[in-house]
């Protein structure tokens, strides 16, 4: 069982996302560690790419700040090595950075370096299952998980293709479009979860989750985990814009993380227990 599998083993997983290096290297470290203290079960660490096509304005802003402050793949791996957290870490980035890393062509050098730094898995939003074989093979060789996103439009054969490749968890995109915090929870989520019901892999729902109450509703509705990015990045961005001290922003992030983790736990309580198999 991988460390990511373990994170889903007892109760719902709360999976926060932050862009590494936003707004700068040291603050970013404090922020990620605050999320761990707040109850993160897995953390998605974004490695900034110049063309974040799957992201909305919030995360795009984070990525731009991090790049302007000098974030690079090598700095990212150092960051991962220096982090003082005890939860599995997933690298969220775009394929060009994975493909270009190292002297050898292809994803292998990146995966090797990531494994060495302590990364346990990947989410690559612009790498569909059709193009993923080279990365999948490198991940298998290093025992890393490869998470795929399932969109509201993903059905039939495409779903099968993804399910044949996915490991760790499946990222259930709650609504069409790009990332960003919303004030409602999409009905597309329930449909997506129903479509995935038969699959034996943890289902983590993301895109638009903002509050503990959202988290509660989504987990009560059957999700095994929740992924939250923009609502946390908003806190980082507001702190940066108003020049607040790093420890104050970190405290806010920890509180927000706790709210979300507790919301998820409350949702789990409401779920009808599955009948014991004998």
């Amino acid at each position: 069982m991988s460390r990511i599998d373990e994170a889903f083993a007892d109760g719902p997983a709360f999976i926060p996302y932050l862009a590494v290096g936003d707004p700068d290297y040291e603050s970013s470290k404090a922020y990620v560690e605050a999320l761990a203290r707040g109850g993160a079960d897995v953390i998605e660490l974004g490695l900034p790419f110049s063309e974040p096509v799957a992201e909305g304005p919030t995360i795009q802003g984070a990525v731009t700040r991090a790049l302007d402050a000098g974030m690079t793949p090598d700095r990212y791996f150092e960051f991962v090595e220096e982090l003082d957290v005890d939860v599995p870490l997933v690298c969220m980035t775009y394929y060009n950075l994975i493909y270009q890393y190292g002297s050898e062509e292809g994803p292998r050098p990146f995966v090797e370096r990531a494994a060495e730094a302590g990364i346990e898995g990947f989410v690559v939003p612009d790498l569909p299952a059709e193009e993923a074989d080279p990365l999948r093979e490198a991940c298998d060789d290093h025992g890393l998980d490869l998470v795929f996103i399932v969109a509201p439009t993903t059905e039939g054969e495409r779903l099968e293709r993804i399910m044949a490749q996915v490991s760790g968890y499946v990222y259930v995109q709650a609504r069409l479009g790009v990332t960003g915090a919303r004030d409602d929870v999409s009905g597309q989520t329930d449909e997506a979860l129903a479509r995935l019901e038969a699959w034996d892999v943890p289902k983590a729902v993301g895109f638009g989750i903002k509050t503990g109450e959202h988290a509660e509703r989504i987990v009560a509705g059957g999700a095994d985990g929740i992924i939250v990015g923009s609502a946390l990045v908003d806190i980082v961005a507001a702190g940066h814009e108003t020049d607040r001290p790093v420890d104050e922003v970190a405290t806010d992030l920890e509180a927000k993380a706790r709210e979300l983790a507790e919301g998820a736990a409350a949702g789990y309580e409401q779920r009808v227990p599955e009948p014991e198999h004998t």
Partner: protein, 412 residues
């Protein structure tokens, strides 16, 4: 089914939300464009003729022929409706969207020429349309912004990054991902995920289809060379496609050398848009191709005096043909392109687009490479560029330019 790759290049690197749309489009491309289902291609050809004004002439250019000691023929895509080759593709895609039952069109534009063509096609076919355009390009190409709005299209400014084509494509992809169920993205060049590079090439191949017949008739045989400017590479692929199997015809893709071929890795900026000449293999906007990037794989901001060439990537098929040594990538700088703009305007009575001027600048710098007969693709007309040409020329010491002070209003 046609493959999604050209050698190692191409593919479909897009967010999962777009994959079903890309698959649906690949299916529609096979059926309607390649299979002429429901007479799609017949309707496309008819509309290109009646609405678009095809065929465009292949004009023998007398002054240039004398100057370069080569029989120079100009494929006049500037005479197509809208003033550029872009209508071939825009009309094809908007019509296809209609056949597919889509209800809304989005597009990106750099020079505004593709946006204009899409706005015209959308108005012609009765489809609502929104176009994303970088703020910097909006300022460089105001006439096209006016034209799009006059055609009923909404123009959405994109402010991130340097506000050029790359950012506009990102933004259009986001819109598409949000509204994928009823919206078609009319991509403006032979770039993006499969089937776009093939499909756009097919719509643009009408250029070389006509040119090949016309040059045989007028010059008595095939040309020795075909020259076209390359931004994303759609007029290039359109002008080359029917000549690719003619091994004796040299194909020159002219890129924007900008102000220099050097790059500033630290700043993440390339002062050129020469991805075929200087780029490395990578993944951008849905395809593996050659692109301007730093050693980490971050995509660089590009530069060209002409906004339609100002793009960090290039079509995957063109990248492949360059690797195969079938297409020769060359480049010319901003100054040479501006010189060529003025020269062609004065000597042939044709005011070319700044993009097109790059192709003429190459012919001027390397007449010996043209052979006895050459076809230069006039991808578009320069009306859209007048403001920026006047401004850019005034900053430079150009031999061919008229007195730029006179443009201020007095002394005319």
């Amino acid at each position: 089914m046609s493959t999604s790759k050209f050698g190692e290049y191409g593919g479909q690197y897009v967010p999962e939300a777009l994959m079903p749309a890309v698959e649906e489009l690949a299916d529609a491309y096979e059926r309607y464009v390649r299979g002429n289902e429901d007479g799609f291609m017949d309707e496309f050809r008819r509309r290109l003729r009646d609405f678009g004004g095809r065929p465009t002439p292949l004009q023998h250019a007398e002054q240039l022929s004398a100057r370069y000691d080569s029989e120079v023929y100009l494929k006049r895509e500037d005479l197509l409706h809208g003033g550029a080759h872009k209508l071939n593709n825009a009309l094809g895609q908007v019509l296809l969207a209609k056949y597919m039952g889509k209800e809304r069109i989005v597009a990106e534009t750099g020079a505004g020429q593709h946006g204009t063509a899409t706005a015209m096609a959308a108005a012609h076919l009765g489809m609502p349309c929104e176009v994303y355009m970088g703020e910097r390009d909006i300022n460089r190409q105001r006439p096209n912004v006016f034209r799009m709005r006059l055609n009923g299209t909404e123009v959405n400014p994109v402010t991130v990054g340097r506000g050029t084509l790359k950012e506009a494509i990102n933004e259009t992809m986001r819109d598409w991902a949000t509204n994928v169920e009823d919206t078609h993205y009319v991509i403006g060049s032979v770039v993006g995920p499969h089937p776009f590079p093939r499909m756009v090439r097919d719509f643009q191949s009408v250029i070389s289809e006509e040119a090949r017949e016309q040059v045989k008739e007028q010059a008595g045989g095939l040309p020795d060379s075909v020259v076209a400017c390359a931004g994303g590479g759609s007029n290039t692929m359109g002008a080359f496609h029917e000549f690719v199997d003619d091994a004796d015809v040299d194909l020159y893709a002219v890129e924007a050398g900008g102000s220099s071929l050097d790059v500033d890795e630290e700043a993440g900026v390339a002062p050129n848009s020469a991805s075929l000449s200087t780029g490395d293999e990578g993944v951008l906007h849905g395809a593996r191709t050659k692109l301007l990037q730093d050693t980490d794989g971050q995509v660089m901001e590009s530069h060209s005096v002409s906004s339609g060439l100002d793009y960090a990537g290039v079509g995957p098929e063109l990248a492949h043909l360059v690797d195969e040594e079938r297409v020769t990538p060359v480049n010319v700088g901003d100054d040479a392109a501006l010189e060529a703009f003025h020269r062609l305007s004065q000597e042939e009575g044709i005011i070319p687009a700044l993009e097109t001027a790059h192709a003429f600048a190459f012919a001027h710098e390397h007449p010996e490479q043209l052979g006895d007969v050459t076809v230069i693709n006039v991808s578009g007309r320069g009306d859209k560029d007048l403001e920026s040409v006047i401004e850019e020329s005034a900053e430079r010491d150009l031999a061919a330019a008229p007195d730029m002070d006179a443009f201020a209003g007095d002394g005319l």
